[in-house]
């Protein structure tokens, strides 16, 4: 055999991407097998941010779980508060007695959080594709949205706002006006971002026909949220299984066709716009009245009441020391988180502490498919694909 005919011995390169790598925000590890720049195999390893969330929940009272839920999907923390509160309230059987104003405000904060989440996600995606200016436009929009949320509950990242049976505080004075001002700016940033990227040839080349998945596969993997809608499945918990006041609101659910990264991007862009419309509708219809349930066994009565009424005093004491008494039973309540179906499965054996608190994080199911999606693609394709999957370590690893 002549030298030219001999097989040149080559072997694939093993590359360890993460857990500490610029693109794996939220600490995840990809073990890549590469043929040049082509990915032969991608093993996704999660769990670097595991904090035993579910076990922690069993140690505290039902109310003490709220701060932990903030740390699931920290980009839209208040949505987790709402999802958890809805589940506990359903288990208590008091969901009909929640005042309308509280429900409206919950919807408003959920949608503001969804906007903030999408702003962050899309911004980060462009940052990692090298377009730094577009990233900072959306970060500013995100900051303005967080200003709104901060004016409600005083924190920007960890909300701890919702309570079983109500909310910790009402909307501040002049909130509607503040929202109006912020939305004018946010729409401006949205338009600029859109102009910079949606028709940008380089951006299109990077996003289109990359990271696509078939409808059957997406459903089989358990995709939900923008990632599922981008393949053309019109599934949105807000529409299919309405909670809060979503059945009384007028909004569209954008769907894509191919499920590639560009479709996911477009779905998220449109959802930002829809969320702004939802918030505006809610503020238009916002009823007056109390924000907490009138049931001292569920939500602590006011301080004045506690000091004058023995019944309230006892409940305040019991709620604090023992926790709200939730009857035995189990429940699963799905909500539409920014990334997809965010549900709490709760088990109570009676008493003031959850017996089991299980979260269904949307990105856990989606991240499973990462290896399949990027197989055969280029190493550079991991970046937009992983960004559009939007893994949030806090939520995925819990």
């Amino acid at each position: 055999m002549s030298e030219y005919q001999m097989d040149l011995h080559t072997e694939p390169m093993i590359l360890n991407m993460g857990p500490s790598h610029p693109a794996t925000h939220g600490t995840v590890r990809f073990l890549l097998k590469l043929d040049g720049e082509k990915i032969l195999n991608c093993d996704t390893e999660i769990g670097y941010l595991h904090r035993a969330f579910e076990k922690h929940c069993e140690a505290g009272t039902w109310t003490q779980v709220f701060p932990y839920t903030d740390r699931l999907n920290y980009n839209s923390a208040v949505q987790n508060n709402v999802a958890y509160a809805l589940a506990v309230e359903k288990l208590l059987g008091v969901e009909e007695k929640i005042p309308a104003r509280a429900t409206y405000i919950r919807t408003i904060v959920c949608e503001l959080a969804r906007m903030a989440d999408h702003f962050t996600n899309l911004g980060a995606a462009t940052l990692e594709l090298g377009a730094l200016t577009a990233f900072l436009y959306f970060v500013e929009a995100r900051e303005l949205t967080w200003d709104l949320l901060e004016s409600i509950y005083g924190a920007r990242l960890t909300s701890n706002y919702v309570r079983v049976g109500g909310l910790s505080s009402d909307l501040p004075e002049g909130f509607a006006e503040h929202v109006r001002k912020v939305f004018i700016k946010n729409r401006e940033f949205w338009r600029e971002f859109d102009k910079l990227l949606t028709k940008n040839r380089i951006f299109l080349d990077r996003m289109r026909d990359v990271g696509g998945i078939s409808q059957e596969d997406a459903i089989a993997w358990g995709f939900t949220g923008p990632c599922l809608r981008s393949v053309g499945v019109e599934f949105d918990v807000r529409k299919t299984d309405p909670y809060l006041i979503y059945d009384q609101l007028d909004f569209d659910v954008p769907v894509g066709t191919t499920g590639d990264n560009f479709d996911k991007y477009l779905v998220r862009m449109e959802e930002i716009d829809q969320s702004m419309k939802i918030v505006e509708q809610c503020l238009g219809k916002l009823p007056k009245g109390p924000i907490n349930i009138n049931d001292a066994a569920v939500r602590n009565p006011s301080k004045a009441d506690v000091k004058t009424n023995i019944q309230s005093m006892i409940h305040h004491f019991k709620n604090t020391i023992e926790g709200i008494n939730v009857p035995a039973g189990e429940i699963y309540v799905p909500t539409e988180g920014s990334n997809g179906e965010m549900g709490f499965y709760l088990v109570s054996v009676g008493g003031g502490k959850p017996w089991k608190c299980r979260v269904r994080p949307p990105c856990f199911a989606i991240t499973q498919a990462m290896g399949d999606i990027v197989k055969g693609a280029f190493i550079a394709d991991i970046i937009p694909t992983f960004d559009m999957i939007n893994l949030i370590g806090g939520e995925c690893d819990r």
Binding site: M13, L15, L129, G130, L132, T133, A134, E140, F378, A380
Partner: protein
């Protein structure tokens, strides 16, 4: 032998003006590049990106409360980089790891030697040509030197003993190879139009505003600037150092002053590219609708020698202002666009720019035949 040296020494008084001229030019260009552009472009980039992104930018470093618009960050950067640990990873090829940044930065410095930053002037009877080396191969020298600079990056990628660096090094090699071919071909039209490779000739030929390269070679200009961006390895062509994919590409394992040398090489290349763009397509040192003689006449009241000095100052200023304008534009592009993918860069180079460059040569030839 001794006689020859003695003879040469005897000629020193006669050669003195030329020696002074040479030293002055080298010192001037070296200070402009290493003293002004290399450190200041870091500041410009920070401030310009801040301006584009509604930020304030660097403004914290101060001496007794004076921040000088963030300019002192340049100084603090220099101190930091000088005092930082020079880390060489285990298993790295030490000599090559050491050598790579030098190979990258030196060519970036000397490439400017053939770019004229002013015209020809007669000062006190001595003919002065404002270019360090007026080579007859001119622009080809820039290409040749830029290719050497590529070795620096490739060697850095190889010698670091790191998979990310290696991938970056391979990307540099492939990208530079593809774009150097295309870049050479895009300029063939320019050489045909001006009939010379010598950059001073091209500069002189652009005295008439409508003979500027941008008007005679519009397609060549667009193709050249694309290739130049790719050669510069900055967004959208920064795939060798794509920080989101390859951490930092070929200089992942570099720190301290050696890292700074890669960084400087990038900025100097940007200056060189802007210089070439100005010299070939934007009239070099020429001012639109103002001829050399016209300018000399305008300054006539200073006396013939000082008039020449004044014209020289004006021309040199015009040249650097144009270069600065181009640097500004290159940075604007860098901060606006996302980056390509490896295969897309290759496709653009081989399948689009290269054929278009050939078409450009053909059209140029056909038009020249018709006109002449």
């Amino acid at each position: 032998m001794g006689n020859v040296i003695m003879a040469d020494l005897a000629r020193i008084p006669e050669l003195l003006p030329s020696i002074i001229e040479m030293v002055a030019k080298v010192v001037f260009i070296f200070t402009m590049n290493m003293g002004v552009f290399a450190p200041l472009l870091g500041w410009v980039e920070r401030k310009q990106s801040a301006l584009m992104q509604d930020r304030i930018g660097a403004n914290r470093a101060d001496i007794l409360g004076i921040t000088a618009f963030g300019l002192l960050h340049t100084l603090t950067d220099a101190i930091k980089l000088l005092t930082k640990e020079d880390f060489i990873p285990r298993g790295a090829d030490k000599p090559l790891h050491y050598l790579a940044p030098f190979i990258a930065v030196v060519p970036a410095l000397i490439a400017f030697a053939v770019i004229p930053f002013g015209g020809q002037y007669v000062l006190w009877g001595h003919k002065t040509n404002l270019v360090i080396a007026d080579l007859d191969v001119g622009i080809l020298f820039v290409f040749a030197v830029a290719s050497i600079s590529t070795y620096g990056s490739v060697i850095a990628g190889w010698a670091s003993n790191n998979n990310w660096s290696l991938l970056g090094g391979i990307r540099v090699g492939a990208q530079m190879l593809s774009y150097e071919v295309a870049m050479g071909l895009t300029l063939v039209g320019v050489f045909m139009v001006y009939g010379s490779l010598r950059m001073t000739d091209i500069g002189v030929a652009q005295e008439n505003f409508f003979h500027w390269g941008i008007f005679l070679q519009p397609l060549g200009f667009i193709l050249f600037i694309t290739c130049a961006l790719a050669e510069n390895k900055r967004t959208p062509f920064d795939i060798p150092e794509a920080e989101a994919e390859l951490v930092a590409g070929y200089f992942t394992e570099y720190s301290g002053l050696k890292f700074a040398m890669f960084w400087m090489a990038e900025f100097l290349e940007m200056v060189t590219i802007s210089g070439v763009l100005v010299a070939l397509f934007f009239g070099g040192w020429q001012i639109p609708f103002v001829t050399h003689e016209g300018l000399v006449k305008f300054f006539g009241f200073l006396g013939s020698n000082f008039a020449q000095v004044a014209v020289m100052v004006v021309h040199v200023t015009v040249f650097w202002v144009k270069v600065l304008g181009w640097i500004f534009l290159l940075m604007l592009i860098r901060w606006t666009l996302p980056r390509f993918r490896y295969d897309q860069v290759m496709e653009l180079g081989w399948k689009i720019i290269l054929p278009l460059a050939l078409v450009n040569i053909f059209i140029t030839g056909a038009v020249m035949l018709m006109v002449m």
